[in-house]
């Protein structure tokens, strides 16, 4: 068995482990651990897609969380404002579609229950349970949210074509700040910092293999998020292996040279923006439905720094490493909340864990530039290279062109 196969085996083992985990684990904190893992998968999607954007394509964007937020808010607003009803409310904006009425709820912002109510609540009060309204299927919302992310990815990608490095980072940071400010200011529509509530992923529960799961059960969202992660990883793996991966890495290394060799740098730059921001938006939309609430604080730069740190510690230039790093770090961050005592001094880990995490980030950057996970993966995939080179060099027959006094 060679190393490549070992790597495959390990990957399969990891996948099998996560597939069976919900059935193997049975402690009292089951729900919490499942929650941590679901969040871990969510961050893994963000970190791996961000590694495709910044690690592979070299587009250092700090706006990834903004795309996540676009997806989440896209689906949140969709499910918050649109409903189907068999009878007209005569209060809301509504359109007749077939035998149903398409209802658009009016935006009333944040209220206290004694104050104004939206038209639909009023109508429901009048009907007093005699009419059943149907909320929109959430998958449409998730789809729309992802598309919204993709469209903005396209626009931003086109805008930043000429910007490099620091300018790109600043611009995308600015974009996410504008988006955050807009969401928190437009209270009437987005409910501002109060956040907007969403239906759960399986609002009415779901029955799988005869087993009924309620809307708050962790197993269905766990598998949804896990398969989403697998799907994203599959797409990223395919992209990385295909000419797309080759070209975006070439343009990361040297845009002019890549263009001179026939690579349509403009197209690939925009494509990588669109693909990764769609992924981020998709993850955001699903996560929002899982958590049940989305607030503009999710778009804050601190959240972004978490994704950046996860990707860097895992390995920026390998999306799989970034994903694994994200899961492990999310897990450790949650579990290291326990305080401990050293030499009579109590260290409150709820506070210090993030300090250690930041220090780890800096040390990783300084001394393990490829991240902590990438070297392990490279060990399996690239181990033959060094031996090949050495072998050849040892061979006296080959006349190598060895360098002396060559500048380059």
């Amino acid at each position: 068995m060679n190393r490549q196969q070992t790597l495959w085996l390990i990957s399969i083992l990891i996948i099998v482990f996560f597939m069976t985990f919900p059935f193997l684990y049975g402690r009292r904190d089951y729900d919490y651990i499942m929650h941590v893992l679901i969040t871990g998968f969510f961050y893994a999607i963000l970190a791996s897609s961000w590694s495709m954007l910044s690690g592979y394509a070299g587009q250092f964007s700090f706006g990834h969380m903004a795309f996540m937020g676009l997806g989440a808010y896209g689906t949140a607003l969709f499910s918050h404002y649109f409903y189907l009803s068999p009878v007209p409310t005569n209060l809301c904006t509504e359109f007749e579609i077939g035998d149903q009425y398409f209802i658009i709820k009016d935006a009333i912002g944040v209220t206290s229950s004694t104050l104004d109510q939206d038209c639909l609540t009023k109508a429901l009060a009048i009907w007093d349970g005699s009419v059943q309204i149907t909320p929109m299927p959430i998958w449409i919302g998730i789809l729309l949210g992802s598309m919204l992310g993709g469209i903005f990815g396209l626009l931003i990608g086109m805008l930043v074509l000429r910007l490099r490095a620091a300018y790109l980072a600043l611009f995308t940071l600015g974009f996410s700040e504008i988006l955050r400010a807009t969401i928190s200011a437009e209270i009437k529509i987005t409910r501002g910092q109060a956040g907007i509530e969403l239906p759960y992923l399986f609002e009415n529960g779901i029955t799988v293999f005869g087993h009924e799961f309620s809307k708050t059960d962790k197993i269905p969202p766990y598998y949804v998020m896990f398969f989403l992660l697998l799907a994203c990883m599959a797409v990223l793996a395919w992209l990385a292996k295909s000419r797309f991966g080759l070209f975006v890495r070439a343009l990361r290394e040297d845009e002019d040279a890549a263009a001179a060799l026939g690579v349509n740098t403009v197209r690939f730059k925009i494509m990588v923006f669109v693909i990764t921001s769609t992924m981020a938006a998709l993850a955001g939309a699903v996560q929002a439905h899982y958590v049940g609430i989305i607030t503009p604080n999710n778009l804050m730069i601190l959240q972004m720094s978490l994704v950046v740190a996860m990707a860097v510690i895992g390995g920026l230039e390998n999306f799989a490493a970034a994903a694994i790093g994200a899961i492990i770090i999310q897990f450790l961050l949650e579990l290291l909340r326990e305080s401990f005592v050293i030499g009579g001094v109590e260290v409150d880990m709820t506070l210090w864990r993030l300090v250690f995490f930041g220090a780890l980030l800096m040390i990783t950057l300084r001394f393990y530039r490829n991240g902590l996970i990438t070297p392990i993966i490279e060990f399996f995939t690239r181990a033959h290279v060094a031996s090949e080179t050495v072998e050849k060099r040892m061979d006296p027959k080959t006349e190598d062109v060895e360098e002396e006094g060559i500048t380059g």
Binding site: L246, F247, E253, A260, V263, V401, E404, T407, G408
Partner: protein
Amino acid sequence: MIELEVKNLNKRFGGLHVLKDVSFGIKGAELIGLIGPNGAGKTTLTNILDGAIKPNSGTVYLNGQRIDQLPPFEVAKVGLGRTFQVTRSFRRMTVLENLYVPALAKHVAADKTEVTNKALEVLDFLTMRHLRNEYAQALSGGQQKLLELGRLLMLDPDIIILDEPFAGVHPTLMEIIYEYIRKVNEEGKAIVLISHQMDSIFSLCKRLLVLNYGDLIADGAPEDVKNDPVVVDAYLGKDDDENSDTTNNEKQNSA
């Protein structure tokens, strides 16, 4: 039949008139030297031919297709390849991947094994086969230069512009590059060689173009050019040091 036609090219940067009505043509697998003092506009000319910057006026036709308004990647597909004055390999990609880029970029439906075989052939020619899976940044400066030439072979263009291929190169390597140029030329490709090393230019080229501060002051056989009083006056008399590249600056200006 390879045919490049450059007509009345003009390029200004701010108040600087870098190219003044430059016209010339290439027919068939010629091996041409392009010389001129620092700041003569050689690199600008290369950048315009390659599409990296647009001329203010004038036209460039390659094999009957107008290329002066095309972006670089289209120009590369039409059939013009170039190297850069400073070696620009894709440092954190393997040698093979470096070679895949042009091949896959040019032929959308290229077969991977075919490309690999071709790449290995190229590597054999460059005596670098054993390094195929090394990252380019692990290579020596000279090897990176060879790799850049190898990429051009993979792109398989009709015309190759080599910008200072001999700058700071070790003599052993020089031999390989000589051989490369001759071989590629024999295979039916036109080559434009930009260099400050007159010996190399004179030993390789059958035709010389001389640029002097934007003017194309001579175009002809090396012997004729050598004796042209204008050229002697402008250039051959004194030979400068390595000049500094202005590619980036120029691009900034045009942006």
